[in-house]
Symmetry: C2
Subunit: 263 residues, 2 copies
């Protein structure tokens, strides 16, 4: 597997998909709901996933595809090469704002993240990484994350996690909100991972993410020294929905041990 050849191929494919998404704003977008009323999907999410699948099947036969919209393979293990794709991460933003969403893609070989891409479609900003080669924001190499502290940190998290929920003790989350410098919520896990990688926020936490939400971003975050795990501190399991945190390495352990109390 020639990672650099794949990297060039993927960048070109992502830009083409981004162009199709931007063009879609001129037409009507069909919106449906999935698991619940606020879990949105559009015809564009589906078309973009299908575009990737057609291309991958033609140009990389033998590779498998794990996509949010379910048109890819039925993935039960991480053997071989798997493309983990969210064609539009932040569909609610796509529908309501026509911005602040991303194409998220991670390429894994036997469970190891080799390539990661987060494409902010409207701003034409591509965050990307090849394992061991550092992370980039467009053509600019991202610096390694610098040491910080809880009290100087900005944390990406949804306000929902400060309310009683089935995943963690919310009182501990409230302590975290009080102890950090500030919280932000942008509505796209992929973009929030890109912001962790570029140091705009110092951590991102979520109680419930799917493999395609975090597959690309995790590769990028780790290339700048960031840490990723579930709330137990275990390496993320890319076969199931789980809790997730990505953070600056100087606060990752402290957030887990002092502020996150899984139920």
């Amino acid at each position: 597997m020639d990672l650099h050849e794949m990297d060039r191929y993927i960048k070109s494919l992502i830009k083409e998909a981004g162009h199709r998404i931007r063009t879609s704003f001129r037409g009507d977008i069909e919106i449906e709901t999935k698991a619940h009323v606020n879990d949105l999907v559009t015809n564009i999410d589906k078309e973009i996933e299908q575009l990737f699948i057609e291309r991958i099947n033609t140009d990389y036969p033998g590779h498998r595809i794990f996509g949010e919209e379910g048109f890819g393979n039925d993935i039960q293990d991480l053997k071989g090469v798997i493309w983990m794709l969210d064609p539009i991460d932040g569909t609610m933003n796509f529908v309501h704002q026509q911005r602040n969403f991303a194409i998220s893609l991670g390429i894994y070989k036997d469970g190891v993240g080799e390539l990661g891409y987060i494409y902010d479609v409207v701003n034409d900003d591509l965050y990307h990484a090849v394992r061991g080669g550092g992370a980039y924001f467009n053509d600019e190499k991202l610096p390694m994350l610098q040491e910080t502290s809880i009290s100087e940190s900005i944390i990406g998290m949804n306000a929902m996690w400060a309310t009683p929920n089935k995943y963690v003790e919310h009182e501990s989350t409230i302590r975290l909100i009080r102890d950090v410098r500030g919280t932000r919520s942008y509505g796209s896990a992929a973009l929030e991972l890109a912001f962790v990688a570029s140091g705009r926020i110092d951590a991102y936490i979520s109680m419930r993410l799917s493999p395609w939400d975090i597959a690309g971003g995790s590769v990028i975050v780790r290339e700048v020294g960031g840490m990723t795990s579930n709330f137990k501190g275990d390496k993320e399991n890319l076969l199931v929905q789980d809790t997730f945190m990505a953070a600056n390495p100087s606060i990752h352990g402290k957030i887990l041990s002092e502020y996150i109390q899984p139920k």
Copy 2:
């Protein structure tokens, strides 16, 4: 007072100030704290406010200035023409992210908002309005806000307001978080007002804002049919710090009556 002449003057001054802010990223930024450790101010906030004051004093003598950094006039009433200025709204974002902050300016005559400006400095996006003339995003006229419902709304609010606080019953805020489609938090009141005006979010609520945070944005929001008030439903008082909400008119009253319980 020729509003259209002032409008041209202000746009030019804001763009000049924005250029100075963007240029400041090349040098060192001095950061201090104000009322508390997370209330940040930099030398750039101060320099930009002073730039405005020099120009206004020269070109609009007789006008008064109410600025966040306190270099303007001691404002105890709303008589005459007052420029309400936040030179950098979202200073924490300015410091941590070098983006997602804005110059916020409202021009009030005898307490009536005549002109409003929110300038997203890094994206070079100017939201602006002349009272009675509609609101604009750069050169594009913003459409009137369309009817929506609580369950389809995205609300801008800080996660802090879902936690016990001295301003409102947080259980009611939690009900709001559960009933809406989603929440977002961008860390700049001015930008969140610009997002209400452009329909990217449907409401913005905060327990504690100052006149210069909301003066420009309120003019813009009202020009697209949006409603602004404090949590009692009263017109905002531009002499004091207060609670604040700006919202799509179809949900403003309902949020106030069903979800906001001031203490």
